[in-house]
Amino acid sequence: MNPETLLLRQIHPSFVQLGRPTSQAFRPTPKDESLLSVDDGSKIQPRASWERFTSATDSRSAGVMAVTCAECEEQELPVTADGTPYPEHCSIDFSDLTESLVKKKAKVLVGHAVRRDWLFREIQQV
């Protein structure tokens, strides 16, 4: 991965209102144990990433947005290409940050993603 590599993030439909995503979409939820799941955009296209994600039971996504490795680095958020549970899988690490910092960094990341706009969107309006 290089600094411009896109890190693809699935956005849950309830995390979208009138096409606008919440900053929560760019921060780990309690079950994620501080690691935000993304896909390596140099290895998989947004549509294919969405199709794989939504083919699993109980997995819903309104579409795909992205931040770059450089944008994560700017926020001092390490990105690991962990390849688990599938080869393109990466994690953005929010470990050891206060709740306040997690929220701030998520706000900055979603700002970058919104400027980049949706890379893939489910046909149904959200």
């Binding site: 849950h12 309830s14 995390f15 209102q17 009138l18 606008r20 919440t22 900053s23 929560q24 939820t29 309690p30 079950k31 109980d58 997995s59 819903r60 306040s100 929220k103 701030k104 706000k107 900055v108 979603v110 700002g111 309006q125």
Partner: protein, 377 residues
């Protein structure tokens, strides 16, 4: 002759500063009708051999609002007689009727069947209909107060044994059909329920515009306010009379919260607690009462923990308010995306205090926009 008769005490946000909305006076007009009928009922009970009520029984007797006390909304309602010396027995019946009505409310509060017959309890269909959630009307009685709330009124309507009753309501709907020939239209609620309403020149344009949006597939809603008819299971049956039709903002709070109320546990890809319906009702009501209508409406999202996150994009600021619905607290964070300046506050949202702080903070960010704009000179 004029005699102080009732001093109902109104509680609720709408009655702050000793004010009473004019629309609630309809309820007191219904109380007057009820009082006359209960007084007649008392007369019949006390004169079992009389077939008819005296012809002039209620003639020249009137209830009037004579004062509104400063400080809080306590109405003084006086019984006014056209003659200087009212028939003393009539006065007794009216006084007994007043006690009967107050005691009926007290019984319903305690879950006890009132002694008034169902036909008279039916007047609570109109008296108390204008009360909103969190509002009440209290009447002094021996040893305390009897308090009429929307819940007590529902209980009274059950004792009235009616199949259906009416309520003032505001519904967020889309207009799916207009039948000009029969002067009616069909509205569709968020949950798919369809109701019919009568079409009037007063709001026909708004209805036709909403129909146009519906046909174009736009997800735009209007707010319809008026009187609805409900059955004993509290299900909507029809729209009795439409009073106002207002196009809704696409970020309308109550509409969005209605949508989020449909979530169930596990909504977030197997995880995620669903927000509780009654807590969302509280939040919708609190926004309605306390959020400054001059400020932009927020985007609203569920949180994994069963709360709600409100977000605003104010110039260079990204603002979030994470709302704990159980504790009625909000964690406010405003981050300036250019210079990283940040304000964080914990806001108590159970009353006006925290909402005032929120309004003030948002206004401060809004003012920055004005200050930062270059002058035109």
């Amino acid at each position: 002759m004029e005699q102080e008769f009732l001093k109902p005490k109104l509680k609720g946000e709408r009655f702050q500063g000793a004010t009473v909305p004019l629309e609630l006076l309809k309820d007191f007009a219904a109380l007057q009708e009820m009082l006359v009928e209960v007084a007649k009922w008392e007369f019949r009970k006390n004169h079992p051999n009389r077939v008819r009520i005296p012809r002039n029984f209620a003639e020249g007797v009137d209830l009037r609002l004579t004062s509104l006390d400063e400080g809080c909304a306590i109405l003084t309602i006086s019984l006014v007689f056209a003659s200087l010396f009212p028939t003393s027995s009539n006065l007794t019946h009216f006084e007994q009727a007043r006690t009967d009505i107050v005691e009926a409310i007290a019984s319903a509060e305690q879950g006890v069947k009132p002694r008034l017959p169902p036909s008279l309890l039916n007047y609570f269909d109109r008296f108390g209909r204008g009360l909103r959630a969190g509002e009440s009307i209290s009447f002094e009685r021996e040893g305390g107060y009897a308090t009429l709330t929307p819940d007590t009124r529902n209980q009274l309507m059950r004792y009235a044994q009616v199949e259906e009753w009416t309520e003032e309501d505001s519904l967020r709907v889309r207009i799916s059909e207009v039948d000009k020939r029969h002067n009616s239209f069909e509205m569709e609620l968020n949950d798919g329920t369809k109701l019919r309403g009568g079409l009037s020149d007063l709001y026909q344009d708004a209805i036709l515009e909403a129909l146009g949006n519906y046909k174009k597939g736009r997800n735009e809603y209007v707010l319809i306010q008026g009187i609805v008819r409900k059955d004993r299971e509290n299900r909507l049956k029809s729209f009795e009379s439409v009073e106002h039709v207002t196009p809704l903002d696409s970020l309308d709070i109550a509409l969005r919260l209605e949508e989020l109320a449909k979530l169930s546990d596990g909504w977030l890809n197997g995880a995620g607690r669903a927000p509780a319906k009654e807590r969302l009702d509280w939040l919708a009501n609190a926004f309605d009462l306390f959020f400054d209508s001059d400020m932009p409406l927020p985007y609203l999202y569920p949180t994994a923990e069963g709360g709600i996150q409100a977000e605003w994009g104010q110039n260079d600021w990204a603002v979030s308010l994470e709302i704990d619905l159980e504790g009625q607290w909000g964690e406010y964070q405003a981050l300036n995306l250019k210079d990283n300046a940040c304000t964080e506050l914990k806001l108590p949202l159970g009353d006006r205090t925290g909402w005032n702080q929120l309004n003030e903070e948002l206004r401060r960010l809004d003012m920055q926009k004005v200050e930062e704009q270059p002058s035109e000179s």
